[in-house]
Symmetry: C2
Subunit: 473 residues, 2 copies
C-alpha cells in the first residue's frame, strides 16, 4: 500500500527529495543549509529564493539532476558567476538552483591544436591566465573577468573589449558538452575547426541563456599571443571621419585593429570632470574621441607602421589631433578614460543604461536621434554615449538627479523606440533574460519568435530550463 | 457537391496545379517544359526527376510556394548552383525543384558598414568581383566559384581555401532572410555584428542543407582587401616540424597566416610525375611539403618580415629547404601544385575521395593510420593525402586501376573507421547530403541526432524540406 503524500510534500518537495536522494546532501543543499548565499545576478531585477541548491561535481551529476527535474517537471535556474546584467539567472519562484561552481578547472591544454578543455564553472580570468602561461591568448575579456564563468560566457554569448578582432564568445569555442532538459548529454568536445555534420547545435545552445541546456564543458580556441600593442588617442572633427578612420585603419594597419572605442564629447567631458585622476590626452575639444589599438606579432615594424598611419591620417585631416602611447602606462591612462563606467555606481546612481547595436553606418544618426529626443523630455539630463564602434555597439547612459520613480520606462521608450525604428538590436551583448523580454519584439519578428518557441518546445517540452527567461509568453 | 479527384490527379499533381495557379507558368514549369535541364548536383549520387520546377523571382514567391507545398505535404528540393559534392540537392522521387537561379543579384553595398546585401541565387564569383570593385574582399573561395551560389554556400556552410584566416561561410554573414517550411519569413537582414536577441536562428539555418528553410537573401560581411601576399613553398623533415611551423608562423608573421596547405610526399610525387606542366619548387625529397601564405596591408614591411621568418625557420631546422615566391607567377606555380586535384577526373578516374577533419594534433597520426591500413588491403593503390592543416582538414584520395566494383565501400570502411576511432569529423566541409548519411553517426552521438531530429520536427513538422537528406531515418 502506498502512503498518501503528506500536505507539505508539494510536487517541488518531491523533486527536491528525489534530487537529494540520488545525488546526496553534499551535492543538493536545502534552503536552511545555504542561508545568506547570494542567489541573484547583477541585474538588480527582482529575485526569489531557490527551493534547493544543486552543486554538481561532474557532467553525470548534471544529467542525473536534469533527468529527475524533468520527471518532476521541476524548473531549474542554472548559475554561473552571477554577473549577468539582464536578469537571466534570477529566480521567479519555485525553481531549484543548479550552480556550476564546483565544476571548476582546466582539464587540458593542447598546444598543437591551440585549444583548452575546461569545466564550465571555471572563471574567465583563470582561463586567460592559463592560456597566457601556455604561450597563448584567450581573447574574450570583460570587466567581470574575475567572477564570471566560461559557462556564463557561453550561455550569454558574451562580448566585451576585443570583439572587433576576435569575435564574441561563440567565436572562441571549438565544441561544447551540454546536458539537455531530459538529461541526455550532447557535444563531443571535439577540437576540429571544420565540422559540417548536421545542424549547428553548438551555436544554438550558445547564447540560449540556460533555456535549452546546461553547458558543462567546452573546448576553447586559443590564439597567438600578441607581442606588441600600439595605442593612440585621437580627436576627430565629425562622424564621417570616425567611420572613415575605422575603415582606413582596417585596410592599412599590418596587424589590423584590436580596439576602436568611440566616445562622444558629453561622455568625455563628464568623466574627465568627475574623475580627477584622469588626464586629458589631448588639448582642446573635439567632436569625437577614438581610442585606437593594434596588436600584433612584430614590435619594431608594427610601431613604425602605426606611427606612419597616424601621420597620414593627421595630414589628411581625418584626425584633428592624436596622442600616441609611448609606454604601457600611457596606454593604461587612455584606457582609464574608456573604463570610467566602472565608477558609475558612485558617479551617477539611478541611471538608465542601454546596450544596443546598429549597423556601423547608422550608429552616428542613432546616437544623435536618441540624444535629441531625450533632451526634448529631459533638457538637463546627463547623457553619456560611447561604444565599441567597430562592432556597431553603442552604450547610452541617461540620468537626472531626483527623477520621479517612473522615469526609467519613459527613457527606455525613447531609446528602444529609436532602436526599433532604425532596425537596431535591443541587446548587443548582454542578452534578454527577464529585463528585455518586453522589448525583444522590437528586434525580432513574430515569425522569428514563433520559430524560437518551436525550438524551445522541441528541446525542453516541459519548460523546466530557466522558464520565463529569453522568450516572452 | 465536390468533384471526385480523377485518378491521374495524385496529391503531388494537386500541389503542382496549385503552385502553377498561384505563381503562374513563368515561375512554375512542368517537366515537358524543362526537358534536358541538369537537375542533379555534382555528387554522382542517384537522382530522379522533379515533378515541377519552381523559379521564384522574389521572397514572396518562395513564401507562397512553400505555403502551398506545406498545405499539400509536397516535398521540395532547393537548388543553388548544383555544385554540391554530398548529394544534398538530388531528387529521391516525387519532389518539386525550387531553383533560386532567378533570384540573382547584388541589392546593395554599404561601404561604411562593410557589408553587401545579395539575393541567394547570386554566384559566389559575382559577389567576389563586386566586393573587389568596391574596395573590399569577400574571402570565401572555392573551385566552383563560377557556378556555386551564395545560397548554396550558406546551405552547406562552405569552407574552401581561406578558412584559416577568415573562417567558413557562417563567419562571412551578418544576417540572412529565409522562408520556413510553412511559408513564414524569418531574418531581418540586419547589419549588426553584435546581436544577442534570442536563439541563433541564423547559424541553425546555415549548414542545414535545405532541410530547415530556404535561404532567400543574405547580408554578407566584407573584409579589408589585402595589399600584399607573401608566398613560400617549404620542405619539412617530419610532422612535428609541420605543426611547429604552423604555430610559429601564426605567432610571428605580422599579417598572420592566410594559407597553410600541407602535402604528403605521395601526393607531391604523383602530381609532379603526372602533370608535366608543374615545376618542382625545390630540389630533393622531403617528408612534408607546405605552401605557406601571409596576406596583409603593408607590402614593404610584410615582405621583409616574411623573409626574416623563413630564414629563422631554416636556421632552426624546422624547414629543410624553402622557395620564396618573388612574383605572382612564382606564387601561381606553387598553387598549381596544390590545385592539381582539378585534374583528378583525367588522372585518376574511379577514385574514392574523403573530406575528413581531426584536431591539428591528430592529423599526422590519422593520415599515417589511414595509409597503413589502406596499404594492408591494397598494397599497390595510389594514395594521395593533403589538406588545409590549419583547419585540421584532410583530403584523402584512394584509387587502384581495375578495382572490383564493390571496393569503394571497403575503402570507406577503413578511412571512416579511423575517423570515428580518433574522434574526427566525417565531413569537414562538404556536408552530409545523401552521400554520408550512413557514416554521420561516427561523428554524432545518438543524443545529438535525436536533438537534431527534434529541431527538424519543430521547424518542418510535415518533413517537406529536402526529406531524406542530412539526417538518417
Amino acid at each position: 500500500m502506498h502512503e498518501q503524500p503528506s500536505p507539505e510534500r508539494s510536487p517541488s518537495q518531491c523533486a527536491v527529495n528525489a534530487l537529494r536522494e540520488a545525488l546526496g546532501a553534499d551535492v543538493v543543499s536545502l534552503p536552511h543549509e545555504f542561508t545568506g548565499r547570494k542567489n541573484s545576478d547583477s541585474s538588480r531585477m527582482p529575485c526569489e529564493e531557490p527551493l534547493a541548491l544543486i552543486r554538481p561535481r561532474n557532467t553525470e551529476h548534471v544529467a542525473t539532476a536534469l533527468r529527475i527535474c524533468h520527471e518532476h517537471r521541476q524548473p531549474v535556474v542554472t548559475q554561473g558567476g552571477l554577473t549577468g546584467l539582464a536578469g537571466g539567472a534570477t529566480f521567479l519562484g519555485a525553481e531549484v538552483a543548479l550552480s556550476l561552481e564546483l565544476m571548476n578547472g582546466i582539464e587540458s591544454i593542447d598546444s598543437v591544436s591551440a585549444s583548452m578543455t575546461v569545466l564550465s564553472g571555471t572563471p574567465l580570468q583563470i582561463v586567460q591566465e592559463a592560456a597566457d602561461a601556455a604561450g597563448f591568448m584567450f581573447p574574450l575579456d570583460l570587466g567581470a573577468r574575475g567572477s564570471c564563468t566560461i559557462g556564463g560566457n557561453l550561455a550569454t554569448n558574451a562580448g566585451g573589449n576585443r570583439v572587433i578582432k576576435y569575435g564574441m564568445m561563440r567565436d572562441q569555442v571549438l565544441d561544447i558538452e551540454a546536458v539537455l532538459a531530459d538529461g541526455s548529454i550532447v557535444g563531443g568536445l571535439r577540437k576540429m575547426i571544420k565540422n559540417n555534420t548536421g545542424y549547428d547545435l553548438r551555436n544554438l545552445l550558445i547564447g540560449s541563456e540556460g533555456t535549452l541546456a546546461v553547458i558543462t564543458r567546452a573546448v576553447l580556441r586559443l590564439r597567438p599571443k600578441p607581442r606588441a600593442v600600439s595605442t593612440a588617442w585621437c580627436g576627430l572633427p565629425n562622424y564621417d571621419a570616425v567611420t572613415t578612420l575605422l575603415r582606413r585603419a582596417q585596410e592599412s594597419l599590418p596587424a589590423g585593429v584590436s580596439a576602436f572605442e568611440v566616445m562622444w564629447p558629453g561622455y568625455y567631458d563628464f568623466v574627465l570632470s568627475r574623475l580627477p585622476e584622469l588626464r586629458a590626452p589631448l588639448e582642446g575639444k573635439h567632436a569625437f574621441y577614438v581610442l585606437l589599438e593594434s596588436s600584433g606579432a612584430d614590435p619594431a615594424r608594427q610601431a613604425d607602421a602605426f606611427e606612419d598611419f597616424l601621420s597620414g591620417m593627421l595630414e589628411e585631416g581625418l584626425i584633428s589631433d592624436a596622442a600616441l602611447a609611448s609606454s604601457e602606462s600611457d596606454a593604461a591612462a587612455f584606457w582609464a578614460i574608456r573604463d570610467a563606467p566602472g565608477e558609475y555606481q558612485r558617479l551617477i546612481p539611478g541611471r538608465v543604461s542601454f546596450d544596443v547595436s546598429f549597423s556601423i553606418a547608422d550608429v552616428g544618426v542613432a546616437a544623435h536621434r536618441c540624444e535629441q529626443q531625450l533632451r526634448e523630455h529631459w533638457p538637463n539630463a546627463t547623457i553619456l554615449i560611447y561604444g565599441h564602434l567597430g562592432d556597431g555597439n553603442l552604450h547610452i547612459v541617461v540620468q537626472e538627479p531626483d527623477w520621479p520613480q517612473d522615469t526609467a520606462p519613459k527613457v527606455q521608450a525613447v531609446v528602444y523606440g529609436v532602436t526599433g525604428e532604425m532596425g537596431g538590436s535591443v541587446s548587443a551583448e548582454h542578452g534578454i533574460g527577464t529585463k528585455k523580454l518586453k522589448v525583444l519584439a522590437l528586434s525580432r519578428t513574430p515569425a522569428e519568435l514563433a520559430a524560437m518557441r518551436a525550438i524551445k518546445a522541441a528541446l525542453d517540452p516541459l519548460n523546466i530550463l530557466n522558464p520565463g527567461k529569453l522568450l516572452p509568453h
